[in-house]
């Protein structure tokens, strides 16, 4: 599903840089990435999603070398193949719950919004217990409900890859479990790959593999991943 080789990345400004000689994530694998803040976990997700482009090396996602695609193609690929979940939910306050879930279908002509999609969105909403809140504005919902909506927004296009950046960071234990259940059940049912960045070590046992950026400093070769923070 994901193959990274000889990747070098740095921002135009600042001292941060990231080097990854090799990283492979198999189809249907669930992976948790942990590590200290600023070590490059979110940057890695951005590189996989194609919202950041490496200085050199290659990033192949679902068989496409996303780092080699031009911007419009990367967007088209991302909207159809990658479901993104953010720690801060990133819902649009002026849209109701259903419109937030269907947002991907309205912002890229690659996806077509039809009756089937609406039914799927409503079914997902029902499955996570928010089907009675589809007409509400998101500002009036709890944190747990907001994150469930954000997760459904990522799932509604039925992507083969889910990238979640601290999806449980702002949730209480009960909602944390619910959101993880939704993500993991989707991955299992659809043979989708799930890569999650998290600081929460209590949930690591639920993933098939854990990549710890901190360990890298001691065991880079074993993890076959290289991250450098230059100060």
């Amino acid at each position: 599903m994901i193959e990274i080789g000889d990747l070098r990345f740095s921002y135009d400004e600042g001292d941060f840089s990231l080097e990854i000689p090799e990283l492979k994530v198999a189809d249907g694998e669930t992976v948790a990435i942990v590590g200290p803040s600023g070590s490059g976990k979110t940057t890695l997700l951005n590189l996989i999603a194609g919202t950041a482009t490496p200085r050199s090396g290659r990033v192949t996602t679902n068989g496409y070398e996303i780092s080699g695609l031009h911007d419009a193609a990367r967007r088209d690929f991302r909207i159809a193949n990658i479901g993104l979940v953010f720690q801060e939910f990133e819902l649009l306050e002026y849209l109701n719950v259903l419109d937030n879930i269907l947002l991907p279908y309205r912002i890229n002509p690659t996806l077509r919004l039809g009756t089937g999609v609406r039914e799927r969105a409503e079914a997902l909403a029902k499955r996570v217990g928010i089907s009675d809140k589809l007409a509400r504005f998101v500002n009036h919902l709890s944190q747990g409900e907001k994150q469930r909506i954000a997760v459904i927004r990522a799932l509604v296009v039925q992507p083969p890859l889910l990238l979640a950046d601290e999806p449980t960071g702002n949730l209480d234990p009960l909602n944390k479990d619910r959101v993880l259940d939704i993500l993991l059940q989707y991955a299992e049912k659809n043979a989708a790959t799930l890569v999650t960045v998290t600081h929460d070590h209590d949930i690591l046992h639920r993933f098939q593999r854990v990549i710890d950026f901190k360990d890298f400093y001691d065991h880079a070769t074993e993890l076959r991943i290289n991250s450098i923070v230059r100060s």
Partner: protein
């Protein structure tokens, strides 16, 4: 495109107050110069048409504008008065027909125009119902008056006192409606027409009262000589002219000295008009003759100059408003940076996201333009009437 417009619309609806203020501001900036132009153009057309149809006006020396506005548009500002003999002079000159005008009194808000039957033929006024006034105390009402007061031939209207405190002067005269005019969309629609003598009765220059020779009036008689009877205020005065009391109505003194506000002079031909105007060039004369179209043109010149200043001011304010609106939009983009980034991150196309933002601007501009057009239409329909009511009040 439908999705783009939908998202833009949802944003505008959610931020409805911000959107409403923006739309209103732009609407006003679009509307003000156009609406003002419509009002001025239509008012000018309206005013000029009536003035052009009125060749000459004879009135007391003073403000030609006041004389014209009173005589043509029945404004409430009364010009200085002239004697009825001026009408006789014009008529006897053989140069023009003379139509007397005495525009001073009102029935509620409707002006009562004391004139002669020639007024109807001069202005080509036709009757929707009834007939012209024939005797004292009868009146003909314009189309608007008939509608607003709900009167028809056979009903009555009552003149109003000139002021609330005018208890002893002009007293209410109940006048019988004999005809209703067809609408002509001029001030004639809003007027009540009476014979000039009826107007004099409203003023109290002519009156009807109990026959003092009759025994029941004896208690009111203070003294009686061969030619003169002096009575006190207990003598009953009639405030309605009926067939029974019509004979008792009479005028004291010489009618030639009775008041008019103007004489509408209709020259036989252009040359006669020039000669007639020449007769009023004497600086010592107490009266003047004016060409209404000239007076109204001067008024419109003033209005147009004011309009140009207003339009210039509106354009400057408009530029400032557009700059402010652009600033609001840019600040809004900055505030929505995170939302826009989210759309890009999950795979929103640059074109769609940009189109959504542009659609918001487009919808705001379209709604502003539509509202401005709607209000301009309303202005086109009702504006001139409102403006004229201000100008002529």
């Amino acid at each position: 495109m439908r999705d783009v417009v939908y998202l833009a619309w949802r944003y505008l609806v959610y931020n409805r107050w911000k959107s409403a203020i923006l739309i209103t501001s732009i609407m006003l900036i679009v509307y003000l110069p156009i609406g003002l132009n419509v009002v001025v153009e239509q008012s000018a057309e309206h005013l000029t048409a009536r003035a052009a149809a009125t060749p000459l006006l004879v009135g007391a020396k003073g403000s030609p504008l006041e004389l014209t506005l009173n005589s043509l548009y029945f404004s409430s500002e009364n010009p200085e008065l002239i004697d009825y003999s001026e009408a006789t002079l014009v008529a006897e000159s053989g140069l023009a027909d003379a139509i007397p005008l005495y525009v001073r009194f009102h029935s509620r808000s409707h002006p009562i125009v004391g004139t002669s039957l020639d007024y109807f033929s001069f202005h080509n006024l036709s009757f929707a119902a009834g007939r012209p006034m024939a005797v004292l105390g009868e009146c003909v009402v314009g189309a608007t008056v008939a509608e607003s007061l709900g009167v028809k031939p056979g009903d009555a209207v009552i003149s109003s006192s000139e002021t609330v405190f005018d208890l002893a002067g002009v007293y209410p005269l109940k006048m019988k409606v004999t005809g209703v005019l067809d609408p002509v969309f001029t001030p004639d629609d809003d007027a009540i027409f009476v014979d000039v003598k009826t107007a004099w009765i409203i003023e109290g220059l002519g009156h009807g009262h109990q026959d003092l020779a009759r025994p029941e009036a004896a208690s009111g008689v203070l003294s009686r000589t061969n030619d003169n009877i002096v009575a006190n205020a207990s003598v009953v005065q009639f405030n309605e002219i009926t067939p029974d009391n019509a004979d008792s109505f009479h005028f004291h003194g010489d009618l030639a000295g009775y008041p008019l506000t103007a004489v509408l002079a209709v020259p036989k031909d252009e040359k006669s008009g020039v000669i007639l105007r020449g007769r009023y060039t004497d600086d010592d004369a107490n009266s003047q003759i004016v060409r209404p179209v000239t007076v109204i043109d001067e008024l419109l010149d003033t209005i147009l100059t004011i309009q140009q200043f207003i339009v210039a001011a509106v354009i400057i304010v408009g530029l400032a408003t557009i700059a402010t609106a652009a600033l609001v939009f840019l600040l809004s983009l900055k505030l929505r940076r995170r939302e826009i980034d989210t759309m890009h991150k999950i795979g929103g196309s640059r074109g769609r996201v940009a189109s959504m933002l542009l659609a918001e601007v487009f919808i705001v501009v379209m709604m502003s333009g539509t509202l401005a057009a709607a209000i301009t239409m309303v202005t086109w329909r009702y504006g001139p009437g409102v403006i004229e009511s201000f100008v002529l009040a």
